[in-house]
Symmetry: C2
Subunit: 393 residues, 2 copies
């Protein structure tokens, strides 16, 4: 199968040959050579698959009638409580709504994602089991990494530590954490559990950290120190890390050096009201910075759609990116940098690589981020998966 | 013409009868009564036309190949300079790119807008003349209010004061202003010119104010005091007013009282990196708060698309709106509140009102804002103007 007249991110015009799911050639296009069986991309910009570094497949209510947000306060704890009520009232299993979301993100060109899945002592492993079904169902189309996420805390939800370890045994890929101080009120206690299980099970970590200011920085530094001590560099991420955007630049730079040295990546979804970490500074200091959707139409947020070009735009908008090289950073966060953070070994547009890509009408990466055009084509393993934003299969 | 089975914002199911461009009846729907000439909306949510309270039709580069941002700094003055270079290099007149943008916003359901148009001592009234052509061209489809906008300042661009007055004589509807202190370095001097011309010509004002902190608050208070003294209440707006989001709540509340008392409205586009004014607080204190796109793919910003549901989402995201009643505020800002700020006398879904509306697939106003679905139908004066996001005419 030949996908003719693709414009690659470097601006070159190529024909993409695919066989048995791999790219077998990327040759300079010659329009005279188009044959009837070729698919002519007409110069559309071809990107590697989009990567969602932070999604909550078990939380979304996508596909259900609108559910108003009922949180009675604006703190994380208020929203945890509100979510419990939504969960108790829902009649459709998380595997169904999660599948709705996976279908939507596939159509937008996301072929790899990391999903946090709630685990606490009331839920047990129920949500994990539901999302494992989703992963199995879409296994040929999308990579889903699962993070065992203690949404209600670890110490304040007794029994959760054992459940987290059981989750790993049952198929979760990473351990999650949540505001060791803000939720559990015990930095070392929270991290002892996480790094203890991680060391024992040989898995990575992705820790939610909303705690701001100097307190949040102290938590980041503790995570970095423990990551380094445990030799887990490259396998640990902190999601949100609002604190990095709420302290003086010099202090954020110190923290960035520690994170880079330890191999701790930072995920940002381009928060609406919270402070956004200084993305360019973090990158300059060697930190892997990647993007994710975070909540999509769930008890936490009414917003979000799972479209990672839309997300890159939001990240760029919040980070005050205006120049092309800055917009390219937002793009990198939802493609290569996210692939690196997720540890995807087989990623990228190259001969021998997977024949997975997304085509959009845009003259440049910067334009693709700013205009977030509809996906003209999504190709997985050399086969057309979606066309004009609609799944084909 | 009957548009059957509309769901109105209050949740009622109605048939909309239109004749000679007006709504002649809003009767409870009875599906059995649909005739062949009716257009069945199938229960779609019908909204009044969207209103863009702040757009720059002369700045956009929409429809041209991507133009990278070349500003060498991040200050307003740097961007003014960068825009001069973009303007000098462009070969397509502003009337053409402005028309591109008008077509795009029409398709998204915006039928009323307020456009600022650059005026300075190098440009003269050139951009005004170009945008007057656009207004004339689309006069039957969209209301375009024009603000004579001194993008390079008034005092620092000698001759601009006379040009602003000439612009009003030639068809601009309001006078604009720009950071009296931050750009012109002279609060009273800047406001003397604006209120002098406004008094003489009997026009309103819409002043860009990026200046933050206590300095920006002082400018707001001066504008409020002069508005009250001049009896211009209800005809003055301040756009952006980032300062309101950068001072303690009590101080913002004091300013809100002064603005409400004077009849000064506040426009916010939901800024990406700057502080957003406390929208709910302003409304609680009686200030009219409305929304606008601001820059759309121009020398200032690569972002924006002119879709006011997308904009309402951005505003809500930045303002941390999560509950339905908050999302309804974002909706109000791009519909009724904006219509009020623009002084639109003939606005709203009611018998006797204009047969102008937008239909979307959404179960509620909150869902329409959060999900910003494609516009199923845009109707102007009882005629279908756009369908599924595409202009029909």
């Amino acid at each position: 199968m030949r996908f003719a007249n693709a414009t690659l991110p470097d601006g070159s015009r190529r024909d993409i040959d695919a066989k048995d799911g791999r790219i077998t050639a990327l040759s300079p296009s010659s329009s005279s050579a188009i044959s009837g069986s070729d698919l002519d991309l007409g110069g559309a910009l071809v990107l590697p698959p989009l990567v969602d570094g932070h999604i909550h497949l078990d939380k979304t209510l996508l596909g259900l009638p609108w559910v108003p947000n009922r949180a009675t306060g604006s703190q994380v704890a208020d929203r945890i409580e509100a979510e419990r009520k939504v969960r108790a009232a829902r009649s459709v299993p998380e595997s169904e709504t999660g599948a709705n979301l996976v279908r939507q993100v596939l159509a937008s060109g996301t072929l790899h994602m990391r999903s946090h899945v709630d685990i606490d002592n009331r839920l047990g492993l129920r949500n994990l089991h539901e999302i494992l079904k989703v992963r199995e169902r879409f296994r040929d189309l999308v990579t889903i990494e699962i993070v065992a996420f203690p949404q209600s805390g670890i110490l304040r939800s007794p029994g959760t530590a054992d459940l987290l370890e059981a989750a790993i045994a049952e198929g979760a890929d990473l351990l999650g954490g949540l505001d060791p101080v803000g939720i559990d009120g015990n930095l070392d206690g929270h991290l002892d559990v996480l790094f203890g299980i991680a060391g024992k099970r040989g898995v990575g970590l992705d820790i939610h950290l909303h705690d701001g200011g100097e307190g949040g920085i102290a938590e980041l530094l503790a995570i970095a120190a423990r990551t380094k001590a445990a030799g887990l560099g490259g396998k640990v991420a902190v999601s949100h890390a609002f604190a990095l955007g709420s302290v003086p630049t010099a202090r954020a730079a110190e923290a960035a050096d520690a994170l880079a040295d330890a191999g701790v990546a930072i995920m940002s979804h381009g928060p609406g009201a919270a402070t956004i970490p200084p993305l360019l500074l973090l990158r300059e200091h060697g930190v892997t910075v990647f993007g994710g959707s975070d909540n999509i139409r769930d008890a936490w947020s009414p917003f979000g759609n799972g479209d990672m070009l839309d997300r890159a735009m939001m990240i760029g908008y919040r980070a005050n990116f205006r120049h092309d090289h800055e917009l390219s950073v937002a793009y990198d966060m939802v493609t290569s940098a996210a692939a690196r953070a997720l540890g995807l070994a087989d990623y990228g547009l190259r001969v021998g690589g997977p024949a997975d890509f997304v085509a959009v009408e845009a003259g440049s990466i910067a334009e693709a981020v700013a205009a977030r055009p509809q996906r003209k084509l999504v190709v997985k393993a050399g086969r057309v998966l979606a066309r004009d934003g609609v799944l084909v299969a």
